[in-house]
């Protein structure tokens, strides 16, 4: 395929389409984001440092990071399992199950937020059983984790599923013939093959969860120091017309997301290269 591309006779429109792409990308995405960093840099260093190390801000960073991490981890485990079931087994309703995996991509986050809050509130469908046991879900970090699990659900499934589909079953058969049991086959043959895809899905779900706002803001209760996520804190600063503070908090978070995005991409180029070499 690479060969086909590199030996092409020139098709028309490269200069025009490339120019348009770069200009539009710069106007809509790059320049506005540059302005964010510019605004953050108008603060003096001590001001910047005081803003991003404020007790309330640090508590919020911590909460956002660990709830996002655990939600992505839940998705790593169950997403891989769902991908496995969808690829390897046949059962009634499989196509429907496959289709609804993408719902969190298509459903507006605010709607997911109010629906989950209604279900997990102390008088909700599921929340009331937990309330009876003395466990509060909505308006606690547990609720935030549930919302983040919802919005991250498709990432791991959709990363692992195609890799599992392409996995040649001959290796598993060979291993079985040589006397490997199903646990050995899974950990020695299947797991190494799908591991890069699992990590990509995990990182995508994690990155998405870090910035999530709509689904969390209803279920979290938004108590400072306890259940206040970073995007909400940015909005709070904006509402106080503290533009510099909002930009500073956002810049730190954006930097973190970019590093994550960069790592995912490097990982993907590497695995793509490896596959091409084979």
């Amino acid at each position: 395929m690479l060969k086909k591309l590199s030996r092409h006779r020139a098709l028309p429109g490269f200069g025009l389409s490339m120019g348009y792409t770069v200009v539009y990308l710069s106007l809509i995405i790059l320049i506005p984001l540059a302005v964010l960093f510019l605004k953050a840099s108008t603060l003096s260093f001590t001001e910047f440092w005081r803003t991003v190390t404020d007790e309330r801000v640090v508590a919020s960073y911590k909460l956002t990071l660990w709830t996002s991490f655990f939600a992505a981890f839940i998705n790593l485990v169950f997403g891989t399992l769902i991908a496995w079931v969808l690829v390897r087994y046949d059962f009634w309703g499989k196509r429907l199950a496959d289709a609804i995996v993408d719902l969190p991509f298509a459903l507006p986050t605010a709607i997911a937020g109010i629906a989950l809050t209604t279900i997990y509130a102390p008088n909700g469908w599921i929340g009331k059983y937990f309330a009876a046991m003395g466990i509060k879900i909505a308006y606690t970090p547990l609720g935030i984790m549930i919302a983040l699990t919802f919005i991250g659900l498709p990432f791991v499934v959709r990363s692992v599923q195609p890799v599992l589909q392409d996995l040649d079953s001959r290796y598993e058969e060979a291993a079985a013939t040589l006397g490997a049991n199903s646990m050995q086959i899974f950990f020695k043959i299947i797991f190494p093959a799908i591991f890069p895809a699992m990590m990509t899905g995990f990182a995508l779900a994690f990155a998405r969860a870090l910035g999530e706002y709509g689904s969390v803001v209803f279920i979290s209760g938004n108590m400072p120091m306890k259940t206040e996520i970073i995007p909400l804190l940015i909005i709070t600063k904006l509402e106080q017309f503290n533009y510099g503070g909002a930009a500073a908090i956002a810049a730190v978070m954006l930097l973190f997301s970019f590093i994550l995005l960069f790592l995912i991409n490097v990982w993907q180029w590497k695995t793509a290269k490896k596959q091409q070499m084979i």
């Binding site: 395929m1 086909k4 591309l5 092409h8 006779r9 098709l11 028309p12 429109g13 490269f14 389409s17 490339m18 348009y20 770069v22 539009y24 990308l25 809509i28 790059l30 506005p32 984001l33 302005v35 964010l36 169950f78 399992l81 769902i82 079931v85 309703g93 199950a97 289709a99 609804i100 993408d102 719902l103 298509a106 459903l107 507006p108 986050t109 605010a110 709607i111 997911a112 629906a115 209604t118 279900i119 469908w125 199903s182 990155a207 998405r208 910035g211 706002y213 709509g214 209803f218 995007p231 909005i235 904006l238 017309f241 533009y243 909002a246 956002a250 954006l254 970019f258 995005l261 991409n265």
Partner: protein, 279 residues
């Protein structure tokens, strides 16, 4: 013999256990929230359900949502086709970097997407005094909502098209050129028919996201009832006023759109599979 029967039983037990866990997880996280939306919307009967839409603020929210999508989706669709053409059909240095840059809106919190436009066009923003002097309003008005929506829906069409166009290669286009077609003829008779299903799905995803965007729009809208409220923002207001039935009735509109999106995705996958198998 007996051992074999036991093993077969064990294997099928494991299979059904895994299927059970997978479906249970999907049921808990996907199906129950879906049911909750419709059950809450219809809780007080069908008449009150429809009454929720017969309200000036609700209608203006629906209208603004449609206007926003009608502006931002075509802009991003044109960009998506043009950018995918450059990226999928040509080789150049820095292609991976360009694709990564296009992906940025996926990694940026919607709240930050809104924030950058406030920093640019807000009253204390970079162009704030210029806009005020010329009596122009972008933030807390419709243009800001459109801009924020364009930002968050930026990658949807192009990301659907790139893998599809890369897979199709350039042979058919080159054949068309050799046969004397000009650029536009080649595009409309060869490229566009080849990508139509992927394009359709990308556009539908873009529409669903444009109409459902909450975080970014929430930051730039200013929440002026009847003026700068989209459907998701109106849902939030109703919900915070404890008017749950009306909030979920409005929410059910976008939920139906989400379900249509999923149905269409299955259709597109089925169609493209047929194309690959048949072609």
């Amino acid at each position: 013999m007996n051992e074999l029967v036991l093993e077969v039983k064990f294997v099928s037990m494991k299979k059904w256990l895994l299927i059970g866990v997978a479906l249970g997880f999907l049921g808990l996280f996907i199906v129950i929230p879906l049911l909750a939306v419709f059950s809450e919307a219809l809780k007080k009967g069908i008449q009150l359900y429809f009454a929720a839409f017969n309200d000036a603020d609700a209608l203006s929210a629906i209208k603004l949502t449609l206007v926003t999508a009608a502006i931002s989706v075509p802009i991003n669709t044109v960009f998506g086709i043009v950018a995918a053409w450059a990226i999928a059909k040509f080789d150049f240095r820095g292609k991976n970097i360009l694709i990564t840059l296009i992906d940025i809106p996926f990694a940026v919190s919607p709240v930050i997407a809104g924030l950058v436009f406030v920093l640019l066009f807000g009253s204390q923003g970079l162009f704030g005094s210029f806009l005020a002097a010329h009596d122009l309003k972008i933030v807390f008005a419709v243009p800001g909502i459109v801009l924020a929506t364009i930002f968050v829906t930026f990658p949807f069409v192009v990301r659907e098209l790139i893998p599809m166009m890369q897979e199709q290669g350039t042979e058919e286009e080159q054949a068309a050129m050799t046969l004397g077609a000009n650029g536009w003829q080649m595009f409309f008779r060869v490229t566009l028919p080849n990508i139509k299903w992927g394009l359709l799905y990308g556009v539908i995803l873009c529409i669903a996201r444009a109409m459902g965007e909450f975080g970014a729009v929430s930051v730039v809208s200013g929440h002026i009832r009847g003026l700068t409220n989209t459907i998701p923002l109106h849902v939030e207001i109703l919900y915070n006023e404890y008017n749950f039935q009306a909030a979920f009735a409005m929410a059910s509109l976008l939920t139906m759109l989400a379900l249509v999106t999923l149905g269409l995705k299955s259709l597109v996958e089925w169609k493209t599979k047929k194309y690959v198998n048949g072609g």
